[in-house]
Structures are given as structure tokens and as C-alpha cells.
Amino acid sequence: MTTGRIVGASVPRKEGRDKLTGKAQYVDDMQLPGMLYGATVRSRIPRGKIKKITFGPGIAWDEFTVVSAKDIPGKNCIALIVDDQSCLADGIVNHQEEPILLLAHADRHALPKAVDSIAIEYDPLPAIFTIEESESQSQIIWGTDNTFKTYLVEKGDVDGIWERADHIVEGEYTTGAQEQLYIENNGMIAAFDPQHGVTVWGSLQCPFYIHKALMSLCNLPADKVRVVQMETGGAFGGKEEYPSIIAGHAALLAIKSGCPVKIIYDRMEDMAATTKRHPSRTRHRTAVTKDGKILGGEIEFTIDGGAYTTLSPVVVSRGAIHAGGPYYRPNVRIRARAMATNAPPHGAFRGFGAPQSLFAVERHMNRIAQTVGLTPVEIRQRNFLKPGQTTTTEQAIRENIDLEKLLDRALQLSDYHSMKKRFAGENATGPAKKGIGIAAFLHGAGFTGSGERNLGSVVEVEACADGSVRVLVSSTEFGQGTKTVLCQIVAETLRIGYEDVTIAQADTDDVPNSGPTVASRTVMVVGKLVQSAALGIKQTLTAAGVIRPAYSAQEFRAACRAYVAAHGALRSSARFEAPSDVFWDDEKYRGEAYAAFAWAVYIAAVTVDMTTYSVSVDDFLALQEVGKVLHPVLARGQIAGGVAQAIGYTLYEKVVWQNGRMQNSQMTNYIMPTSVDLPPMRVFFEEMGNIHGAFGAKGIGELPMDGPAPAILNAVEDALQVSFDSIPLLPEDIYEKLASEAVVETEFR
């Protein structure tokens, strides 16, 4: 592993100055001449047939552009995986907040009243809201059995292990929905003219997802659809699939009105209508020997997908593959299912199914430890995956990872053992109970299985007339540092200055499709491609004889200038090619699920206030192995930000549902952590390198979402000697459980 001048250094964020001075242009900062404002009329019931729509009195309807399903020039669906989600409901609605009509007007203040004055009459149909209701099939709301997708992962002989087991440990674990809560709400502007087609500018993660959705919705060829990413104020997965709907809505209004149309959601609409993290339920049944070795077992992982398929098949797949955690299981059977309910579709959110199933397995490891009579440390040490062993999908661990060493270092850094001892002493007498908990976990980087091969991402690097070098990718920046890190990789590869490299705005007219910006794939997969495209530039310049082998940055600039002056342009592209030694069977769900895993051990120390039953996290240690750290400040920022979001997921953020609609869709009643709610975060990296990524980097962005929930609940268990298996864990949940256990105790006496 090499440490270069630029890779491994914390260079200034490319778009940092613009962000710090207020110059950065987000979609709501942009105005177009003659622009109208758009609004969405949505269902107010969870399921039913639309009987009648009445446009109320007292509104100058002739001033409005009104769009319904029948105005759609192409196919009324949001093209993604399965074409089951309409862009605008046509006769039937399957969830609250489902879009039915669109309005546009030049005065945005005229819109709310108009939206409210539209009365929609329905024939309601019975709706279902939980995984259990969906499984029982009392109502079939999707397909023939309410099931979007099932997977079965099988390894070894599970049926043969039960009689060899000294202990059989069972547990059920559940997680709630979570709102991404990017601070910039969703928004899009669309413009249309017959010659150029549709252009949209917006807050988004995946320009080519929107491109594909608009082509089919508007019935336009590829060259008549253009998608431009504006500066994006946070996304976390929440701007992966939903922006295709908003782009579609803005485009339909622009086509019908002939004017550019801006749609900006307010916070309430954004929270109630757009996607959230999938609620989940995981059941474990594990066969263990008396010395704590896992023989194997069954895992059942089920998520609530909401009313339409969207990305649920992929989310449940990632959750299933991570369900075994970082442990060796010689025999395992994992059944995973994504079920339909009448909730607004749940969607992508940092971690993508893995936080849910890893929460379960890391709570379950503590339960196994208790049953066997081992400590949480020992049970993990005895079962960690080792190089040469295989994961649940029979992917051999080829990296030289040493999880015991990683755990040891985390224990030392957090002073685990002495804290644990001290807390046990203090808890006997003190008014507050303190505890410390561990979570060990892994996160696969890049698309699952054959995903990257099917995507076949393309990137380009070009030499510019002024001698600088420009990166062209559809990978987007929304805070993680995409622009910065990709420029670092090119600068390092070409041995030129970081300031000599720029990156194009993600505009589908200019950039090739380097795939969606998801799955912690940007640095590892796209970074590697960018590196080889950059090398192509150097090769061309060398072959043309305009640089010598040991060139300086200045000479490189001069060579680019000379080449472009003589030939007009110099572009080099690279396309993803799957390594030949990677095997994946989509049918059996077996093989190399991910090109690389990141590994981590997180340790949380908590205090439970026995008067208010609130839990505070006093200290948080995050130790991870993510391959080479290309930018230490950005990497630390990803971890700290992810941990904060996960602490919210665990202790604060509860989506309150009523009749399938989010009731607390405001920042005043959906509580995310503020600056006074979070512990000091101590972030450490172990660097081991990875053959796949650029300069040995792996994915990093999603990993920190996985570990905090189980680490914190394990700490609460340590503090109270009572187990909690559900998140979010709010004070009332703790109170209730303690009160009911107290009752049980008295009854037994």
C-alpha cells in the first residue's frame, strides 16, 4: 500500500468554498424566467378506489395548470425494477400521500389553498399496515401473496445440527422506520420544449435513474431527456429513487403548461410522502455448543416494503447477506422476504437493509453469550470469521482480516474492561445505571453479486485546453466528498496537482453513466475506473511523444495543452469489468456477494437515568478497517455523521403511524439528535488495503449506520440487566418493560 502526496492527505473539499460562502446553488436557489410553481394533490386514505374528484369553488382554476394520469404522454409508471408504481394514481390508491393530481401556478402562495379545495371521494378498501398482517394474507394488496421478493440462502446441513447442539438460542428483533431527514427537502425544476425535450435540475443521487424514468414517462428518446444535479443538501439514500417521481411530476407540468415548473417539497410533505428506512423483523434460531461455538442455525429476515416494489428486493437482499454478521456459520439457512403493506413505499437509506439485520445478529450474539455463560467479548472471539473461512453465501475471506485483533484494539481504546468493572460497582448503589456494549459487524462495498457486472459503469477523464484534467462521472456529491476524492485519485495517478483536476457537474448530456451513487461504491468501484481512465490520458500523451516518463506537473499541463491544441480533444474512458476470479450464482444466492467488506467494532457507553428512563450515550468508540483511507478528514466525517444518524435511529427517531400515514412529520415532533445530544466520538481506522479499490480503498459511507444500534442496546442491557430487542428504544419502552418485569417478579414471590 502506498501513501501518496495527495491520496491520504486531507486536501480541501472541492466545492467547499462555495458551500461556506453561500454561493453553492441548490435547486431552490435557481430561478428560470416565466417559471411556475408546482404542487401535488395526494391521497388521504391508505387504500381505495377514487370515485370522484371535485374542484372546489372560489379558486380561479383557469389560472392553474392541472395534470392528471390521462395527461401522461408515455407509460404511467416510475420505471425502476418492477413497473408497479404509477406516477399519478389512476382510479386506485394503495397508500396515504399517493400522488393523484398536479397543479402549477405562477404565484406559489396560490397553491396550498387550491390543493386543499380539491375534494376526492373514495370507495375505501381494507388496508394492512404490518408485516404480520401482510403475511397472514387476510387482504391481498399486491400480487397473489403480498410478497415482493423472497430469497433463500443455504449453506451446509442445517437440519443435522439441532441434535448436536448443547443450546438452541432463539430471539426475535424488530426495527422501526426512519426518516433520512436531509436538511434540504426534495425539489426539482423541469423545462420542456419540443426541440430539446425535457430538462430537469434537482436535488438527487442518481441522474440516470431519473433519465430512464423520464424517457418512459414522457415517451421521449434518450437524447431528449437531460438530468442535471444541483448541489444536493444531504441524501442518505432518500434521494435515490423518489426524485424520479418528483422529476416526472415537474416534467408533466412543464410539458402541459409550456413553462418551466419548480416543485419544492416543504418539510411536512417530504417527511410524510417520501421514502423511509424499511421496518424489519428478524428471527434467529441458533445451535451452539457448550463452549460457545456456533454450529449454525436459521435466520428469517423480513422487511415491510410499503405499497410498491421500488427498491425493496435489493434492500432485502443486502439485509439477508449481512444477517449472519462477521461470524463463521458452517450451516445456515436464511429466508428473507420483502412484504407489501399500505404504507408509502419504504426505500433506500444508508445501510440498505444491513443495519436492520446486523442489529438483530449483534443483539442475538449477546443472548447466546448469556445462555452459554460467556461474556459478550468471548462469544464474539470464538466465532469470528477468519481468512480462508466462508460467509453465509460461501464467499471465502481472502483478505488478511484479523477480527480478534480489531476487537482487542477497540477494547483497549475504549478501556472496556475497567469501565465495565467500574459500572458494575457504581450501579449497585447509584441513582443512574451505566453500561457498556459492543457490536462487531461488516459491510459489503459495491453492488451485490453480479450487480456491478450488469451495471457496466463507464467513466471518462479528459484533458482540457488550459492543461487541466477533468473527471466526467454521473456519481454525485451530496456531502460525502465524491468530488474531492475522485479528483485526489486522478491527481495522484497522474502525479499532478490536486488543483489541476476538476470534476464536471453531473449532467446526463455531458457525463457517461458511472452508475448510481449508492452502496458505498463510489470510491471503490468508480474510483478505480477513474484511475484507469486517467492512466489512459497519460498513455496517449506518452505515445504522442509530448511527455517524457519523469514529467513534472508543469510539463504535464503543457503536454495536455499542446495535445488538445493539435488534436482538438483528449478523452479517455474506462468501463467496469468484473474480475475473472469472482463467482456469483444469482439463483442459489451463493458466491462472492461483494468485492470487499469493511469491518468494524463499535463500543458504546451509556447511562440510563432511572427517573426519566432516558438513555444517554456518554462515549462512543468507532474502530473500522476500510482499506486505505484516502482522505482522513472526510472519512472521519462519514463515520461521525453515520454514527450520529444511527444514534438517532436507536434512541430518538420514532415514526408515529396512524392509518398508514406518518403523524409526526415535522422537525418539532420527529426528533433527530442536536449538538447537545451526542457523545464525544472517537473514530479510529485500521488500514489493511484491498486489491479491488483505487489505492486500496473500500467503501465507507454506510458502515457507520450498522453498528451503533446493537452496541447501544447491548450497553443498555449491561446497565439494566434487562434485554431490549426493538428500536427505536424510547424512555416509555424502558419504563414499560421494567414495570412489567417488576410485576412479574412480585407475582413470583
Binding site: S10, P12, R13, E15, G16, R17, D18, K19, L20, T21, G22, K23, A24, Y26, D28, D29, A60, E63, D107, H109, A110, Q180, L181, Y182, I183, E184, N185, E231, T232, G233, G234, A235, F236, D266, R267, F478, G479, Q480, G481, V633, L634, R636, G637, A640, G641, G642, V643, A644, Q645, Q666, M667, T668, M672, P673, T674, S675, V676, L678, P680, M681
Partner: protein, 165 residues
């Protein structure tokens, strides 16, 4: 009819923003945030919630840190307003700005203008802010990206640099 209605209720309002006097005809109950963004093109203040929770619309009104989404423009009449666009010219911002850039205080950047204004307000009143002061002082500004720790580092660093400058 609509247009006639709204022009009738408009009144002339004047204030100084970033050192320049601005006079305009607006509805007195229009939110200061909208007037800044739509009428004056000062889009550095952002709307994250519209209800006083997130602080992304923060500006300094007569030297006080306020959420401009909660202020009817009438209330800003004859005031002196500073937005992120105006702060850029002042020396101490450069110090904060540099520290944010170096320490990773801005990720997606949407909370950043508000956060910088809140931090600069804090340092103006508590030049030697402790970590507790910083945590308290920024608690009205939500950030979903950073987990705040690098923001704290940036503010502490700026305070240190100002002390030794």
C-alpha cells in the same frame, strides 16, 4: 383579482442588508427568509423546516441570531441584517471559514451558512468558547451530515486562532 388583492396589501419596507440599504414593496407578513431569497436574491439562507427548528435560515438581525423563517418582514423594518453573503467580507469569517474547510465542518453544505452565522455569533460573544459553550451555542442549528464533531473542532480551532492572531 388575486394580483390586485396582494398589491393592495403590500407596503414599503426598508432595511440595511450586508451594508446596503434596500427598499421594497412587499406584503408585511411575508417571511424575512422569502424576501431575502426571492426579492433580494440572497439565497445563502436556506429553508430546512419553516418552523424554527433547524436554523438553516439563520441570519443576524440587529446583531442577534434569528431564524428568518419565523420573522415577518415587517419586524425587520429599519433593521440591520447580516446574511452569509455579507459575512464573507469580514475578517473573522475567513478564520471560521478556513477552519470549517480544514476540519470538515461542511459536508452537504445546506446547514453551513446558518451554522457559520451561529458560530460567528457565538465567538463574538464568547471568544474563548469552551466545548460546552460550543455545543450549547450551536444547538439551534441542525446538521444531519457531520454528527457535529468536526463542526465543534472547526469552531474551537477558529477560536484558538483568533486568540493567537
Amino acid at each position: 383579482m388575486k394580483a390586485a388583492n396582494s398589491s393592495r396589501s403590500k407596503s414599503e419596507i426598508s432595511f440595511i442588508v450586508n451594508g446596503d440599504r434596500k427598499t421594497m414593496r412587499v406584503h408585511p407578513m411575508e417571511r424575512l427568509l422569502d424576501v431575502l431569497r426571492q426579492e433580494l436574491g440572497l439565497t445563502g439562507a436556506k429553508e430546512g423546516c419553516g418552523e424554527g427548528e433547524c436554523g438553516s435560515c439563520s441570519v443576524l438581525l440587529d446583531g442577534i441570531l434569528v431564524n428568518s423563517c419565523l420573522i415577518p418582514v415587517l419586524q425587520a423594518k429599519d433593521s440591520v441584517i447580516l446574511t452569509i453573503e455579507g459575512l464573507a467580507g469580514i475578517a473573522e469569517l475567513n478564520c471560521l471559514q478556513e477552519a470549517f474547510l480544514e476540519c470538515g465542518g461542511a459536508q452537504c453544505g445546506i446547514c453551513t451558512p446558518g451554522m457559520i452565522l451561529a458560530a460567528s455569533y457565538l465567538l463574538q460573544h464568547k471568544p474563548q468558547a469552551t466545548m460546552e459553550d460550543i455545543r450549547e451555542g450551536l444547538s439551534g442549528n441542525l446538521c444531519r451530515c457531520t454528527g457535529y464533531s468536526q463542526i465543534f473542532e472547526a469552531v474551537a480551532e477558529a477560536s484558538r486562532r483568533k486568540a493567537t492572531a
